[in-house]
């Protein structure tokens, strides 16, 4: 009796333990004869479910099986998580063959995430190479070796003021006279005078009222726009401290006048609302940001984001291209890929095959989008970006070749011409093609980034007095090692100049 009881105890506990373990076991998958390529891209849209994704993959595979003898697995990742998700996946040995940079090409190269594709280009991606051209490819090179292909799209970012057309009409303001950021002051003041309850200028996002990019002709030397460290200014090949420049001081002073006169939102330095949300609230008149589309298209596409107000756009600066503006969004073959040739071939297709790239962006015709017959596409009747099963429409400027994608209904075909022209005619940096490898000053980078986080938002949004704050800021930057970063940049730049 007792032994039976004991036996049952053992059995029950074994079962309990087993059931816990079995619950965690997964299922194995079948294999196919085609090489598999995992294409990881950042999306601003909803992540589609697995079945939907499979239908799009199947449509792409129908093309790629014949074209390059490979099958593709799409791996959309939300943009905010993209960099860390890719980094973790590659550390963990997960299969990723093609991935992109989001302003961090530099890191991808210095930590060997990106494969050296110099010798593969001619054989597997010749069309892309011809399409993009040596000049732009140089932006993805490091020490003469090629690591990525830049997204082919309107790249030149032009600073603009986006404003409420209804208020401009009501007050009879002349926006055509607004050609620089200084001209903006008068318009904001006029709005403030006429509508005291309104805050004229909204923040674009946290700690950014759009003034950063209105400082003309700055080569950020591989840093992102929000954290410039050592930069090139005035077409000279001397690395300088951005924050010590007269232009920066002037910009902060302008922001300060706006702040003191109530022309800009008070919490701009810390708000977590974006310009679109703020504008939709009806309390704001305008914001300043940089776009790569013509004025009319920019206004139209921003209007489509919702908010219910008629918007206008006016260019208030000129575009400037440095290495970062080209390689910020570039595509790489993973160094861990087992089929790098196929991966590069597929990457090539995203630059050259309209069918492939439109499948990735818009999904399946009929289900996810409809063709309007005039070359443009729309969402099916009664649907929008958030209700169709698959769309990555907002990623259109971040992957492959933008110029072979279907334009959305409402876009002027002339725009493409303007955009191509901007790309070709925009002023370019004297150090175009130079990339900075930050690995020797990583410690200083972390420290300096923290100091910038602490001081820059308040300065550039006008919430503090620049005459007293900038000296403190400069002092702290120096303590954190900014000079070492500048020296390292100068040394690498000199070597690059000597080699070119």
């Amino acid at each position: 009796m007792k032994s039976l009881q004991r036996l049952s105890k053992v059995i029950v506990s074994t079962l309990l333990a087993l059931s816990l373990v079995l619950g965690m076991a997964g299922a194995a998958t079948a294999e196919t004869q085609y090489d598999k390529i995992v294409y990881a891209y950042a999306t601003f849209n909803n992540i589609p479910d697995t079945e939907t994704l499979a239908t799009v993959e199947e449509a792409i595979n129908a093309i790629t099986r014949d074209a390059i003898g490979a099958e593709v697995t799409l791996k959309p990742i939300v943009i905010w998580d993209y960099s860390s998700a890719i980094s973790l996946a590659m550390q963990g040995g997960e299969k990723i063959d093609v991935f992109q940079s989001l302003g961090d090409l530099n890191t991808a190269i210095s930590t060997s995430m990106a494969l050296d594709i110099t010798d593969l280009m001619d054989e597997y991606a010749a069309e892309s190479k011809a399409l993009i051209g040596e000049n732009w490819l140089a932006a993805c090179s490091h020490e003469g070796r090629l690591y990525g292909i830049p997204t082919f799209k309107p790249i030149a970012l032009t600073p603009m003021i986006i404003y409420r057309q209804d208020i401009v009409d009501e007050l009879g303001l002349d926006m055509s006279a607004v050609n620089s950021v200084q001209d903006v002051t008068a318009v904001l003041q006029a709005v403030k005078d006429a509508k005291p309850d309104m805050t004229p200028l909204a923040a674009v996002n946290t700690g950014n009222i759009g003034l950063g990019l209105t400082v003309p002709d700055v080569d950020y030397l591989t840093d992102n726009y929000y954290y410039p460290k050592g930069v090139l200014m005035n077409d000279e090949l001397t690395v300088v401290d951005y924050y010590a420049s007269q232009q920066f001081a002037d910009t902060c002073a302008l922001a300060r006048t706006w702040f003191n006169n109530g022309l800009v939102m008070k919490d701009a330095a810390t708000t977590s609302s974006t310009a679109a949300e703020l504008m939709a609230s009806g309390n704001y008149f305008a914001y300043i940001a940089s776009y790569s589309y013509p004025e009319k298209d920019t206004a139209a596409s921003l209007e489509a984001l919702g908010g219910g107000f008629k918007l206008g756009a006016k260019i208030i600066g000129s575009a400037f291209l440095d290495t970062t503006s080209i390689n910020a969004l570039s595509w790489m073959v993973a160094s861990t890929s087992t089929v790098p040739e196929k991966a590069l071939q597929f990457l090539n297709l995203t630059f050259t095959d309209p069918q492939v790239v439109n499948l990735i962006i818009y999904g399946l015709e009929g289900r996810d989008y409809v063709n309007n017959g005039d070359g443009t596409v729309s969402y099916p009747e009664g649907h929008d970006a958030s209700t169709v099963p698959y769309t990555a429409q907002l990623s259109c400027g971040t992957l492959g070749n933008f110029f072979i994608m279907y334009p959305m209904a409402g876009t002027d075909p002339e725009s493409l011409v303007w955009e191509l022209e901007q790309n070709q005619n925009a002023k370019t940096s004297v150090a175009m093609g130079f990339t900075f490898d930050s690995s020797s000053v990583k410690t200083e980078y972390t420290a300096v980034t923290n100091v910038i986080d602490q001081y820059l938002p308040a300065l550039i949004c006008g919430s503090v007095d620049p005459t007293t704050e900038i000296p403190v800021f400069l002092q702290r930057l120096e303590e954190a090692g900014l000079n070492e970063i500048i020296a390292a940049k100068q040394a690498q730049l000199d070597a690059w100049v000597a080699a070119n």
């Binding site: 008070k266 919490d267 977590s272 001081y455």
Partner: protein, 306 residues
Amino acid sequence: MQKRRKKRLAKTGPLLLIAAPGLLYLLINNYLPMFGVFLAFKDFNYIKGIFGSDWNGLENFRFLFRTRDAWIMTRNTLLYNAAFIVIGTVVAIFVAILIYELGKKRRVRLFQSALMLPNLFSWVVIGFIVYAFLNADTGFINNTVLKALHITPISWYSTTGPWPFLLVLVYLWKFTGYLSIVYVASIAGIDKSVYEAAQLDGASKIQQIMRVTVPLLKPTIILMTLMAVGRIFYSDFGLFYQVPQNSGRLFDVTQTIDTYVYRGLMELNDVGMSAAAALYQSVVGFMLVLGANTLVRKLDHENALF
């Protein structure tokens, strides 16, 4: 001897078996990843992998001590946590005693649940609730309270002074209900006859609380405090990042080790340096637990954790 061991195994075997999956989980989830400490001493490279990457000594730790921020963030982390442990415990016990004294009525339970509610909110949500109060343009405090009192509006997110108090207040609002649960349970476990004896001796309600309840809670307090001390080098990231809306002007009073590491490495995505920061926190935390336990053992042997 052998027989006895066999007998013991028969008795504990089934229990061990039930615990096995849990232990296995602990091993896989908490112990295996410890191999990752390698990374803190390596210059990580994706091609060479974890074991193949080059050693670089203490280079990865250097960034933690690079600037005077090192002092500020260590001070903030330690002082805030110390404040949370002391004030949090006192308030939690106070609330627990009140709840217990109110008895087991339905409305008391409802009240207790309501106290628990903030604990279920995420920091992002709490950050916005605070923002609704403190927003410079439209916030409740500036627009209603200060206006009514004829005080000039304060730009809360760029004034460092009030934040140490605000952060403690927000912390208490979120966690008091949760922390008090443990103490309510402990108080409920105290033998009623002790109170009856105290009453017979003429102890007042206050005396019963101070002389009976609090001393009998001592083991729980020590256990909870020891656990908190172990995490004293970690900060609640959401509290220090979301609640002050990541405002640069407030870094002097809101920067903690976690937020510093997060901000510094956001741009670099550096694996080695992240590992170094985590290792530093763990090692110091571990030493603090050992230290605190030794102290407790010296003062009061019975209540030491190990």
